[in-house]
Subunit: 334 residues, 2 copies
């Protein structure tokens, strides 16, 4: 291993000068600068991170807490965070919690450890006490999901508005019996989409019927989507359209329809949410709400870095969504 002292010796200067060149701070004469750079390349010197971090007490590392990576939904967000972090010369550590509280706690430790300077969290229940406490002590930004009634920085889309827009769209197609498939989890997104659905139904003078609303399990599994949709489709006066709060759930609804002999979109319109990659691989291709995933990630990272460097930046940012109309929705029959 080759150290800063070796470089100093080789260049015929002191370690301080080398350090100054390395960090581009303090004043260095062009001549010294030259000599140091020569020595660095000659020796192929690489500063030791541990020494540096020990001394500086900063890691220049960002934590990214995701519940899972099996959902491609997260991949673009993560890419956005990583790209932005890199722009500001931060490294990233991707931590997959798999819904395991112990593991999540362990990752959070990294923050108090000083192993990371801050974290982007992608998986917060709508009122998670722990997170609120943590955010008081270390820089945190919540992405997509966030805690209500708290001033923790967050960036997401307007789920309420998006859901309302879906209902409006379906209504414009002639649908009046519109079902809803949500999830029993505690995410704001789930809640806001449900509220958006209900509010818009009322606004349009359509009844919000209990039997038109069903709930999948907490992690939006395909199977639970099938079950939830089946429930709606088997009720006496079945809905002619179903709005699902995730694409996987929507795919479940399409499967359920198929099992019951219903064609999509002929006899049933289905709308999803998220616009994951395979929404277009399906048959029919899914009408869904697209979130600006990459920008969501970039924005989170930027907010976090601001918070770390400036010690502030507790904003709330909402980005634009987009309703993408494809083949799983159609006019109601005459």
């Amino acid at each position: 291993m080759i150290t800063i002292a070796d470089v100093a010796r080789e260049a015929g200067v002191s370690v301080a000068t080398v350090s100054r060149v390395l960090n581009k701070n303090g004043p260095v004469s062009p001549a010294a600068h030259e000599k140091v750079n020569l020595a660095i390349t000659k020796l192929n010197y690489q500063p030791n991170v541990w020494g540096r971090r020990l001394r500086r007490k900063e890691s220049r590392m960002l934590l990214i807490l995701v519940p899972t990576i099996s959902n491609p939904f997260y991949s673009s967000i993560v890419a956005g965070i990583e790209d932005e972090a890199r722009r500001y010369r931060f490294g990233t550590m991707l931590c997959i919690t798999n819904g395991d509280e112990g593991r999540e706690r362990e990752f959070i430790e990294l923050l108090f450890d000083g192993q990371a300077d801050g974290a982007v969290m992608l998986c917060v229940n709508k009122d998670d006490k722990d997170v609120k406490e943590i955010a008081d002590k270390v820089p945190i930004v919540q992405c997509c999901e966030f805690c209500k009634d708290s001033d923790i920085a967050h960036v997401s889309i307007d789920n309420f508005a998006a859901a309302a827009q879906v209902v409006r769209y379906l209504h414009s197609l002639g649908h009046e019996k519109i079902g809803f498939v949500g999830s029993v989890n505690q995410f704001v997104s789930s809640e806001d989409r449900r509220r958006g659905y209900e509010a818009e139904m009322e606004k349009l003078g359509l009844p919000v019927r209990k039997e038109y609303m069903a709930y999948a399990d907490r992690d939006y599994s395909f199977q639970s989507g099938i079950a939830a949709a089946r429930e709606l489709l088997q009720c006496p006066d079945r809905p002619t359209a179903i709005f699902c709060i995730s694409d996987v759930l929507a795919m479940g609804a399409i499967r359920a329809a198929g099992e019951l002999g219903l064609t999509v979109p002929g006899e049933l319109s289905v709308v999803g949410f998220d616009d994951v990659e395979y929404a277009t691989m399906m048959n029919p291709m899914l009408t869904t709400v697209s979130q600006p995933l990459y920008p969501l990630g970039k924005t989170s990272a930027r907010m976090l870095i601001e918070q770390i460097e400036a010690g502030e930046g507790k904003g709330k940012i909402f980005l634009e969504h987009k309703l993408v109309i494809r083949d799983s929705t159609a006019q109601t029959g005459p």
Copy 2:
């Protein structure tokens, strides 16, 4: 921040003793042990990683190099690696290269930096010179993909045998005109699956026809899968079955068939590879080759850790695959 000196003072012992308790090495009297533990909990002391790593010159960190996380294929492997790493008290850093060479290089730097003690690589071209050089200097294990003609440790399935098995299965269903959709990339898996296909065709006395083989782009995109399959299906004497080297490609083949008015599996059987989650969300559900992803990950991590700790462990391990028969394949018509 609370340091080891604080603990020593609180416990009325020297820092050396505290360190001994922390690391469970050297001899410590029960009394001292007790006092130290008390002080640690009282002060809520957490050893500083930078100081420790600087001193020990080891990070107890494993690098995981994946090309992308948008492909759910990797998520189980990563989970396997992380779980096993954790068992041996190693942390992990997930690095997403996105096929960017510069980024890959940057991550590799972390190894020479000492920021990680070794790496599991999930994305190696079949003869990547760089990787061979790197593996000479730092512990590396290749998972799924690996360099041919090199003794770098790796774990994967027998792609050749799996492909042969698919062809045999299709043949047992009565198919003789069996097409192949591969990829132009440089992965051993792609090559071995193609070789397995060709070898088994010959073994069964079936002609290996150029016009029955098509290639998707390097990252198995859905669109390129459609294009490749369309090519096969439009040739004069079209195949009655197609073996695709990935599930996404198989989904593309099904789409292509649909566009040409061919039913699956009625008029065309399709087999995929990998058994990704959404292979069962499709209609029809995909017949495919399932890889033991989680065990693949666990095994890689174990091999890597052995290599790090023992300084050896350059084995080659092959795990069992499984042909999963679902609804996209059927007997040929009478």
